[in-house]
Amino acid sequence: MLKRVNRSLSEVLYNEKTDKQFIYAVARIRSKELALLSKADIDQLMGCKTEKECLRLLADKGWGIDDTESSEQMLTTEREKTWELLADLVEDMSVFNTFLYGNDFHNLKAAIKQVYKDTKLSNIFLSNNTIDPDLIVKAVTERDFSILPEHMRQVAKEAYEIQLHTGDSQLCDIVIDKAALESIYSHGKASGDELLSHYVELKVAIANINIAIRSVKTGKDKEFLQRALVKCESLDIEKLTECALNGMDFIYDYLSTTVYFDGVSALKESPQAFECWCDNLIIEYIKPQKYNPFTLSPLAAYLLARENEIKTVRILLSGKRNDISDELIRERLREMYV
């Protein structure tokens, strides 16, 4: 009897360990990585004269469904393809909640605005989420927030009341954004996956830096900063708040003493340059996952690589559409994963 229990336990442990290693999924991802756009592909796209030419080239590389799609349709299709693949690879999609929570909280914002304005707009909700947007709308409409998952319940109530009583959409958004970042952070840290844990650290720290910079530019007070900034390990929020209240140079000085010292020059250059630096930092961090045959990390890295690829192509297509010089487009282009 004891032996049987022991055997069952070891079988369960073995299966669990195998599942956590995502062996099948990572092996498939290795093949899929071949189809990711490389720097050479981006150079080829840059060589195209018009947006249409770029779209044709992308269609030749298997992007979109056919070459009759618009650029935005093509990019949406590519994002959907990525999520379909991931859904095919893992049984439990909750491992990707770190990447999905952002969409849930976006949908909460949209639902609150929709109910507040008493209008019905189409296409305001994002797909690839963990909570059905209809459920969020129902919760907001009926003011029954108990039907929402625990991590969203309190913030949904608070944000809705702020919107309803003050009409301050910005404050409503800040409250939701903070809750979104906190949920993403806690899920990433609790995942036990090194890449996810580091990714959420970067994401929250970058968001905090952006909030601090914008608050200096718009002259926000301490209360605003305390409401918006999210605690993380790599930045001292109290110190960042203090610096943001004193001015931009104080933020630069403080960041120079942190692990984000490299980003200060990009911050001084422009917000776009800093955004580009942040994206490149994430790509640099995930690059070693190309050689990792186990765990969730290579899957998360693939997802981030695809998002980065889609963002890069969007910048490139938009530049070509608006006849922006190649030099200026190149400045905005991100590093590629492969």
Partner: protein, 164 residues
């Protein structure tokens, strides 16, 4: 009732031989299973890689065979497969010890070889023409399984000639 310790010589030898078949066998089954899972992932995207992936999957399967071989030789030497089963306690203990390299190294090398095989499948998935190089990495782990097989085999054969 007086217990004769020498009666347990055969018991120890049989335990050693059984474990030699059992432990590397279990490890190989786990390892080949893991390789199969990774192989299935590669084949889903490119079925033409089946032959290459199959070789990588089967590499960690050899430890089970080596364990079986040691068990077979030990059973032959101690008379389980025919002959006299009169083994002293000391000799039984020596047979048990002789099986240990295959038991321990067989287990750990199979598991580690499967990890190397899976990593090599990643190489094959991306660069099928590099299969030869990719196969070398898991094959290197085999060296230690072969060394363990060799020492266990020499020890089991040598013990039979000892007069103890």
């Amino acid at each position: 009732m007086k217990v004769n310790l020498n009666d347990f010589g055969i018991v120890l030898a049989v335990i050693g031989a059984t474990l030699a078949a059992l432990i590397p066998g279990i490890a190989s089954a786990k390892a080949v299973s893991k390789g199969g899972i990774a192989g299935a992932g590669v084949i889903t995207e490119d079925p033409s890689l089946f032959g290459k992936v199959l070789i990588l999957q089967l590499l960690p399967g050899t430890q089970g065979i080596y364990g079986l071989l040691i068990a077979f030789i030990t059973f032959s030497q101690i008379g389980v497969l025919g002959g006299s089963g009169d083994i002293s306690f000391a000799k039984g203990l020596l047979y048990f010890a002789a099986c240990m390299p295959m038991i321990i190294v067989g287990y750990s090398s199979a598991i580690r070889q499967s990890n190397a095989s899976i990593a090599s499948m990643g190489v094959v998935a991306k660069k099928p023409d590099q299969f030869g190089k990719a196969m070398i990495f898991p094959a290197m782990v085999e060296t230690y399984a072969i060394l363990a097989l060799l020492i266990s085999m020499l020890a089991v054969n040598g013990i039979s000639g000892l007069n103890i």
